[in-house]
């Protein structure tokens, strides 16, 4: 950012010089000549010049050149000579925080505090009720600004951002919405919505569930509590009562066991995995029939997929973590 500010001022300066053979302001020209061909040099950095590693368009801020100085228009104001005008011309950075260590961050911080001061009187809602937003992490912000922002400072800024987010959504001004956009992640939690399940013409709702290495596909139809797993009855397929219960747990916990018939295809893994994969599949297909049951099903623990899997074996270990027996020699 600082380099950008610099280049903007340099452009001003260079434009003001125009086609003059002898530069008046030597300092400026020197800088300009130096920085022209590579255009990456940073003025206040002792380290070698480098670009930001991430060059995605969305992260890099757009570059805007400074408007040219129109000498003709200025000259008509009664000034006789360019020379006198140039003498009064001073290269000023666009931002007053240009000479600070983290100019963009400082700008952001000041802008947010000003905004907050402006809208401080608007009604707020409790943070719990505020819209859920995934804010940029400090690493993402650092990459965006290319400045070594300190964690604590960043959190102070985010405190203001969250306070702005708590403004009652019915009265939130447009400028606040625009300002907050800068601190949101590109993708928000609710952005990707799964396709809603459908009940087909035969009244079946399908659900897929996985656990460990098992996967299950369940179809749920209205009925009176019959369960078929791979064409067998529940008791034939699962010898343990525990497995049977966990297989239909979503229905049992919501007291829907006698309202639906289930048929399931399940494959892979062992009995526990299959039973719990079935639990997930049945829960999902139940949610197609009755979406309002989601909180109840979630409380029963049938919505979240259990991501645990067998840990891989490592080289030099006997198992995933076990080390070979220590031998003295």
């Amino acid at each position: 950012m600082s380099s950008r500010e610099l280049s903007r001022s340099l452009w001003k300066a260079v434009d003001s010089l125009g086609s003059r053979s002898r530069p008046q302001c030597e300092w400026t020209t020197r800088r300009a000549q130096k920085s022209f061909p590579p255009s990456v040099a940073r003025c206040i950095s002792t380290t070698t010049a480098r670009r930001a590693d991430v060059t995605e368009g969305e992260i890099q801020e757009p570059f805007t050149a400074a408007p040219p100085i129109r000498f003709e228009a200025d000259a008509e104001d009664g000034k006789k000579g360019d020379r006198s005008m140039l003498r009064t011309l001073r290269v000023v950075p666009a931002s007053p925080s240009y000479f600070s260590a983290k100019p963009t961050f400082t700008d952001d911080f000041l802008a947010l505090s000003a905004l907050l001061r402006k809208v401080a009187t608007l009604p707020v809602i409790s943070p719990a009720e505020a819209p859920k937003v995934a804010w940029k992490t400090i690493f993402q912000y650092r990459i965006m600004t290319n400045e070594p922002v300190k964690t604590q400072r960043y959190h102070k800024m985010m405190h203001m951002v969250r306070r702005l987010n708590c403004i009652n959504p019915s009265v939130v001004p447009e400028e606040v919405t625009q300002a907050l956009l800068r601190y949101k992640k590109a993708s928000q939690p609710g952005d990707i919505k799964p396709k809603p399940g459908v009940i087909d013409e035969l009244g079946r709702a399908k659900g897929v569930g996985r656990r460990k290495t098992s996967s299950a596909v369940a179809w749920l139809v209205e009925g009176e509590g019959e369960v078929l797993v791979n064409g067998k009855s529940l008791s034939q397929f699962f010898g343990r009562l525990h497995h049977r219960e966990s297989a239909v747990w979503a229905l049992k916990a919501t007291q829907r066991l006698d309202k639906y018939n289930v048929f399931v295809l399940v494959q892979g893994g062992g009995l526990t995995g299959q039973a719990e994969a079935m639990m997930l599949a049945v829960a999902k297909s139940l949610l197609v029939h009755e979406p309002a049951l989601k909180p109840a099903v979630r409380r029963a623990g049938c919505v979240t997929r259990d991501p645990r899997k067998v840990e891989r074996k490592k080289a030099g270990h006997v198992k995933a973590r076990k080390m070979p027996t220590w031998v003295k020699r």
């Binding site: 009176e224 509590g225 019959e226 009855s233 008791s235 007291q255 006698d258």
Partner: protein
């Protein structure tokens, strides 16, 4: 020059040292003269550390008393011979801690056929329980020991069986006496053996002559003696001890009839028997002399075939054991087919319809899912018969790559023909009403401490695999969480 053996030992020693690292210290540490290795060879390997702890101070470690067992060994008394088996085979039919169910009614001769019993739990009368115990109809795996006294649920299939008895009795007055044959099939723990027991109960209640082979496995597993039957072609084999035992069971269970009935025919027995003897004396002769038990059984069978005798119920459990080779060997060391054993031959002849019961009767065979050798022919025939009842247009085909037992296929071929009195009774799950009835019985017995409402019944019904009664009992009575 040293002898060559000495050199060989030396080289052996160095070889050992290089190959077996672990032995090296053992062999090399005792600084013996290198040319003599005998000491190291014969020296006992030092015991591993930590295997035996040093004796404590003041504790006498030397066991000087004669005949005294070591304190660490098993000093408990060994069970006497046969005690373990007796414990394993013990049938407990009552539980003093269970409550008496006041509403429990007994089955009786009159109410055995009544259709009002459907979906009700009925108690078994005492004399029937004794008879059933005599024929070993109660199994150790069944939950009789959980309740005050034996009681059975009259489910849909039980009513179906009762109707068979009624049909046979109705035909008894006419000329054409009926012989009905049924195979009970169904998934594991679905109550096939219990249904067979219910059939036996009705048989005892209606004063039929009941012959029950409690477990087909006991006949074919070569645990009892056998002998070739003289003048049989092809060779058949009798099992004297088993037959004598069977006669004893028959005597215990059908005692009253045997006592009252007199001999009509003149049996050709090697032992003397008065012409006016009762059947009981005939049977007692077979029990006392196992070597003539088979001729006695044949004589008894002939007596029962005379007109005026009661209808016969032939029952067997574990049908697939008799559908293949037995464990017996013939004289030329070939396995004997189960059908060549005389008792099984008698049963199969009647099951296949080759012979009819002259006074009418029922032949019942129950399959087993937990203790059953593979019998593709039986499985196929039963599967086809079930499919014909359920989906007549989708009947399984014989897999030609399976090994077929021709004799079994021949015996069971009636099962797949439309018009015969040989069929399969599919023992499925209970209906919800039946499940509710049996669970109320559990609750009244105090074995199920839960309010019996629709929700609870439905839940257990589903978890028991659509009303599998064994699973239902397991889930509600045996397994208390």
């Amino acid at each position: 020059m040293p002898p060559s053996t000495c050199l060989r030992s030396l080289s052996q020693l160095s070889l050992d040292a290089s190959t077996h690292r672990s032995i090296v210290p053992r062999l090399l540490h005792p600084r013996v003269a290198c040319f003599s290795t005998s000491a190291t060879h014969y020296a006992q390997a030092p015991k591993k550390k930590g295997t035996t702890a040093a004796p404590k101070k003041g504790v006498k470690s030397l066991n000087t008393k004669k005949g005294k067992q070591a304190s660490g060994g098993d000093s408990g008394k060994r069970p006497a011979q046969g005690e373990r088996k007796a414990l394993r085979k013990r049938i407990v039919l009552s539980n003093n801690n269970a409550l008496e169910v006041s509403s429990l009614k007994d089955l009786s001769k009159e109410s055995a056929f009544s259709e009002q019993n459907e979906g009700q739990v009925m108690g078994l009368p005492e004399h029937v329980v004794d008879a059933l115990r005599a024929v070993e109809a109660f199994k150790t795996t069944q939950g009789w020991s959980l309740f005050r006294r034996p009681a059975v649920l009259m489910r849909k299939e039980a009513i179906q069986v009762a109707k068979l008895f009624k049909e046979v009795e109705d035909s008894a007055s006419g000329q054409q006496k009926k012989t009905l044959r049924r195979i009970l099939s169904g998934e594991r723990m679905s109550g096939k053996s219990t249904l067979l027991l219910q059939g036996l109960t009705i048989g005892f209640l209606r004063d039929w002559f009941v012959i029950s082979l409690p477990e087909a496995q006991d006949i074919v597993n070569a645990h009892t003696d056998y002998a070739p039957l003289p003048k049989s072609e092809p060779m058949q084999y009798t099992q004297d001890t088993y037959t004598a035992n069977l006669l004893q069971q028959i005597l215990k269970s059908n005692g009253s009839f045997l006592e009252s009935a007199k001999l009509i025919t003149k049996p050709d027995l090697p032992l003397p028997l008065s012409a006016k003897a009762t059947l009981k004396e005939l049977v007692a002769l077979g029990i006392a002399n196992p070597e003539v038990s088979w001729p006695v059984f044949v004589a008894l069978w002939n007596e029962l075939s005379q007109p005026g005798r009661p209808p016969i119920l032939l029952a067997v459990d574990g049908l697939s054991h008799m559908m293949g080779d037995s464990k017996y060997m013939s004289a030329d060391v070939k396995p004997v087919h189960a059908y060549d054993l005389t008792i099984i031959r008698l049963f199969i002849d009647h099951l296949s319809g080759q012979k009819q019961l002259p006074n009418g009767g029922i032949v019942l065979g129950a399959t087993s899912q937990s203790n059953a050798p593979t019998s593709p022919a039986l499985d196929f025939c039963v599967g086809v018969a079930e499919a014909q009842q359920k989906t007549p247009d989708n009947v399984p085909q014989w897999n030609p790559y399976k090994k077929v037992d021709v004799r079994v296929m021949e015996a069971l071929k009636d099962l797949n023909s439309e018009k015969s009195d040989f069929d399969v009774i599919k023992v499925g799950g209970l209906s919800k009403e039946e499940a509710r009835a049996i669970m109320e019985y559990y609750a009244e017995s105090g074995m199920l401490r839960h309010q019996i409402n629709d929700r609870f019944v439905n839940e257990k019904w589903s978890l028991a695999g659509m009303g599998n009664i064994g699973e239902l009992e397991k889930a509600s009575v045996r397994l208390r969480l």
